[in-house]
């Protein structure tokens, strides 16, 4: 039971990261390998801000702003010149950006893990839940994850920009003909994706209270797997995939087969894809952003 | 070899609840030039996809030269003798013209040679390659593409791409050739040339040909028989001239065109 809750809260972190992957993929049609490293920057932003002020709110705002700016900058510098080139070329620059961010983070912050200040972890107790063994962090992560997902869905369906994003993801050529500024939409997508990364970094710090330069790599790749399991391009899919992977990972770790957690996690991916080649929710492509 | 080349029996397919084609019965005799016409969305290409194994029929059967090919894979159906072209040209764009045709020759038993023979450059490889190249040149010569043989397929002008697709399909040595809107996007002059090519293929290769076409001039000009499809079902069938003057057919078309 507790394992399940732990899995859910880990899963919602994966889900949040996967949302970022899926958004960018759906609209810019590229695998943003640097996404995990934007999370890392977000986490550092929170840790550093908290070492100067005791207000988590300020830290979160700082992280969101920094990540958004960073995301847009990456898009402008590294990806935009390659619009129209082979997607694989873009993939390689994304990897380059990922190395770059890791390298810079190590130069600036050093490679020692930086623990986040205690303020961050002193969350208010929620009486009933905590008695059941559900930590506040897990509850907050889960609830916020769902809220963000719903908000994102509403944004895409109900705002002009959101619908333009949908149009770009459906057919970029037609969107251009409809007078949509594709470049602007892609920039907005990166901004939102990076802001999501900042949130992911925040929840990450709830559960794993350390920031280090390579923090983004493994959650990033797992979240990407989650996005694919859910059907890449699909927002609910990313959510489902992320939570599924989180739960499976935790269940495996709790079982005697814990040594093979990674193998089981990835085998699950293979099995799911063999049964449903476009992921769990990938079929409803009209829903995609 | 019997007189009937292709026979479909109540062929049909449904996707979910939608019946894209149903109860299609077509009989094509040897060396016949047969037209399949109908308004947009009538299910013509679906029939082609069924006949070539892209989709598996949910009902009915079809026979090539008396042999039941229902449920076979695309590759197997091709080897049994059905070759096709595509509505939107599907050439191997990054390969040269001659390579495109040589891919068509790939499966013929006379050019057999194992991958290991090729990797080790055994004599079998050289023999097969030479024979294939010669045969491909012959075919290109017939279709007037010999000069372009080292051009990349995507760099060919549109009309030649259509021709190349037919040449490539012919390379697989089929009994039945399916042409999906061969004249789409062609000007009257090119269409004229295409009609000549199709006739030429039929006469010189003793080929049975089934074609989808919207250009009634072409259909009337070369097809001996036609089947009209509407909403996935047969509307009319028979000699071209008779069918084309059938009022139901005219309504179907004009009603649709508005």
């Amino acid at each position: 039971m507790i394992t399940l809750i732990d899995g859910l809260s880990l899963g919602s972190i994966y889900a949040l990261i996967a949302l970022g992957y899926t958004m960018v993929y759906g609209i810019a049609k590229m695998l943003n390998f640097a996404h995990g490293d934007v999370i890392m920057v977000g986490a550092y932003a929170i840790v550093i801000t908290l070492s100067y002020t005791a207000s988590p709110a300020v830290a979160i705002i700082a992280a969101v702003i920094l990540c958004t700016i960073l995301g847009v900058a990456i898009e402008k510098i590294a990806y935009k010149p390659l619009r129209g080139a082979s997607p694989l070329a873009v993939l390689i620059t994304a990897i380059g950006v990922s190395y770059f961010l890791q390298g810079i983070a190590q130069l600036v912050f050093g490679s020692q893990p930086r623990p986040v200040s205690a303020v961050w972890r002193q969350l208010p107790k929620i009486p009933l839940l905590n008695d059941l063994g559900i930590t506040t962090a897990a509850a907050v992560t889960l609830v916020c994850g769902v809220i963000i997902m719903v908000a994102l869905n509403l944004f895409i369906k109900c705002t002009k920009t959101g619908r333009a994003m949908l149009a770009v993801s459906e057919d970029r050529g037609a969107a251009v003909l409809m007078g949509i500024n594709v470049n602007r939409i892609i920039t907005v997508t990166f901004a939102i994706g990076s802001a999501l990364a900042a949130f992911a970094g925040m929840f990450y710090l709830f559960q794993i209270p350390n920031a280090e330069p390579t923090l983004g790599a493994m959650p990033g790749i797992t979240a990407f797997t989650a996005a694919v399991i859910g059907g890449i391009g699909s927002i609910p899919g990313a959510m489902v995939g992320g939570i599924l992977l989180g739960v499976v990972e935790k269940l495996c770790l709790a079982s005697p087969l814990s040594s093979y957690t990674v193998a089981i996690k990835f085998s699950l991916l293979i099995v799911i894809l063999l049964v449903k080649p476009t992921g769990l929710l990938g079929k409803i492509t009209r829903e995609k952003v | 070899m019997g007189d009937i080349m292709l026979k479909t029996e109540n062929l049909g397919i449904s996707f979910g609840g939608l019946k894209a084609a149903q109860n299609v019965n077509i009989t094509i005799h040897n060396k016949e030039l047969y037209g399949l016409i109908g308004p947009n969305g009538a299910g013509k290409t679906t029939i082609f996809n069924l006949l070539t194994g892209v989709y598996q029929p949910t009902e009915g059967k079809f026979f090539l030269d008396g042999e039941d090919l229902t449920g076979k894979t695309q590759e197997a159906i091709n080897r049994k003798g059905i070759a096709r072209t595509f509505q939107n040209i599907r050439l191997f764009n990054n390969m040269t013209v001659i390579s495109n045709v040589m891919v068509g020759l790939h499966n013929l038993p006379e050019y057999k040679c194992s991958p290991f023979a090729s990797m080790l450059r055994l004599p079998a490889h050289f023999a097969a390659e030479k024979k294939m190249r010669d045969r491909a040149k012959e075919l290109l010569d017939i279709f007037g593409l010999k000069e372009d043989r080292n051009t990349l397929a995507c760099n060919l002008p549109y009309g030649k791409q259509r021709k190349l697709e037919i040449a490539r399909a012919m390379a697989t040595n089929p009994k039945l050739l399916l042409l999906d809107e061969p004249a789409a996007g062609m000007n009257p002059h090119e269409t004229e040339e295409l009609m000549n090519t199709i006739r030429f293929v039929r006469d010189n290769f003793d080929m049975t040909i089934l074609l989808i076409e919207h250009d009634m001039k072409l259909v009337a000009g070369i097809c001996e028989k036609v089947t009209v499809l509407n909403f996935g079902q047969e509307l009319a069938q028979g000699n071209t001239a008779e069918v084309l003057s059938d009022p139901r057919v005219i309504t179907a078309y004009i009603g649709e065109d508005e």
Binding site: K29, G103, Y260, A263 | Q74, M119
Partner: protein, 385 residues
């Protein structure tokens, strides 16, 4: 025909030149052990890049698990070689060759297994499955006591001592040349044409009767075999063989070699494998101590600059003016029109990796129109027109 052959020989010439250069240095006593090791690393880098290119560039499927095959080869071939040595066969070359075959064959078996999903999955979905495969393989080997568990497989007895007899690179380059011969012969044959046909247009290839199942599996098996061989070579240069080396990061490094060199260009793969290996070497030797953390930054900047310059649509005219392949063109007596075709071929990217292909289509068509649309959209994969 003549120019085809010249193109073949450029590849052999590059590798042979490296080999001869190394041998001459060795015979004149100028070969530093570190250079000998660098040569060996370049050698298996070439093998890895060219074999991955077979999958990515020629078959058109994105694979992110190439290091997984190398892992299988390194562990199984390495263990086999160690056992051979223990059982008394104390001759380096035969042990290397036999274990390379064993490791290669096992890797090929895994290639067959990972080739199976490729029959059902496409594009990114297959890519992530190959990535998953690499991680699974690593995880399994890590947990096997036979292979040393977390401590890794100790292959100390196999190591070619680069100081006393730095000769492993010679064998490696010879293996690389043999592989090039096999791969190029395959590519320039009816089978190679079938493979490229599948890449260019799978539906049309099926309609031409090409046995897509066979060729997809075949390519995966061949590529895995060579990657396995590279793994065995790795086990002969490094002790211990440690699972952590074969992570997806390494698969991606191999992919970087292929993409930098140009997909579908064997010459490009060779050159970029040499370039990247050398770059890593130089960065490691120059940026030591406090400067080491600059390494990733420098590597990343070089990578981004090279890719942006090589691929940005805005810089096309610049590239055409200063083109390496144009330099080689001069040796090939061709008329201008053919040359343009050839450049088109280089610039072109295998169609299937267009990532939007899957997004733009619905897998289950729900009307006759969308059946047309389905096939039509598939065709758009080749839409670099």
């Amino acid at each position: 025909m003549k120019n085809f052959k010249l193109k073949h020989f450029i590849n052999y010439a590059i590798v042979s030149a490296l080999l001869i250069f190394g041998v001459v240095m060795f015979l004149t006593g100028n070969l530093r052990p570190s250079t000998a090791q660098l040569f060996a690393q370049m050698g298996y880098g070439i093998i890895l890049a060219v074999s991955l290119n077979l999958v990515v560039g020629f078959l058109g499927e994105l694979s992110l698990g190439h290091a997984g095959f190398m892992c299988v080869g390194a562990y199984i071939g390495g263990l086999f070689a160690v056992v051979l040595k223990q059982s008394g066969l104390d001759m380096k070359l035969p042990v290397l060759i036999i274990s390379m075959l064993v490791g290669g064959l096992f890797a090929a078996l895994f290639g067959f297994i990972i080739g199976l999903p490729s029959l059902r999955l496409k594009g990114d979905y297959l890519a992530i499955v190959t990535l998953a495969f690499g991680e699974i393989v690593r995880n399994i080997f890590m947990n096997q006591k036979v292979f040393g568990g977390a401590k890794g497989l100790t292959t100390g007895t196999l190591i070619y001592d680069t100081r006393k007899s730095p000769t492993l690179f010679i064998v490696v380059f010879i293996v690389a040349i043999l592989m090039l011969i096999l791969v190029q012969n395959l590519v320039k044959s009816k089978h190679g044409r079938a493979i490229t046909a599948i890449r260019d247009n799978e539906i049309a290839a099926k309609a031409m009767g090409i046995n897509v199942t066979f060729y997809k599996l075949f390519v995966f098996v061949v590529a895995a075999f060579f990657a396995g061989c590279a793994g065995v070579i790795y086990a002969h240069t490094t002790t211990p063989v440690l699972y952590s080396f074969f992570s997806y990061n390494y698969s991606i490094e191999i992919l970087v070699m292929v993409v930098l060199g140009g997909m579908g260009s064997i010459t490009g793969s060779i050159i970029s494998a040499v370039f990247i290996t050398a770059m890593n070497f130089v960065l490691q030797s120059q940026l030591s101590g406090d400067l080491a953390s600059l390494k990733n930054v420098v590597y990343a900047v070089i990578l981004i600059i090279v890719v942006v310059f090589g691929n940005a649509p805005a810089l096309k005219s610049f590239r055409e003016r200063y083109n390496i392949s144009a330099f080689f063109e001069r040796f090939r007596k061709q008329d201008a029109s053919k040359r343009r075709d050839d450049e088109a071929k280089w610039a072109r990217v295998p169609s299937k990796i267009k990532m939007d292909a899957l997004l733009s289509t619905d897998m289950a068509p729900d009307s006759d129109e969308s059946i047309h649309g389905d096939i039509g959209a598939d065709n758009d994969k080749g839409g670099n027109k």
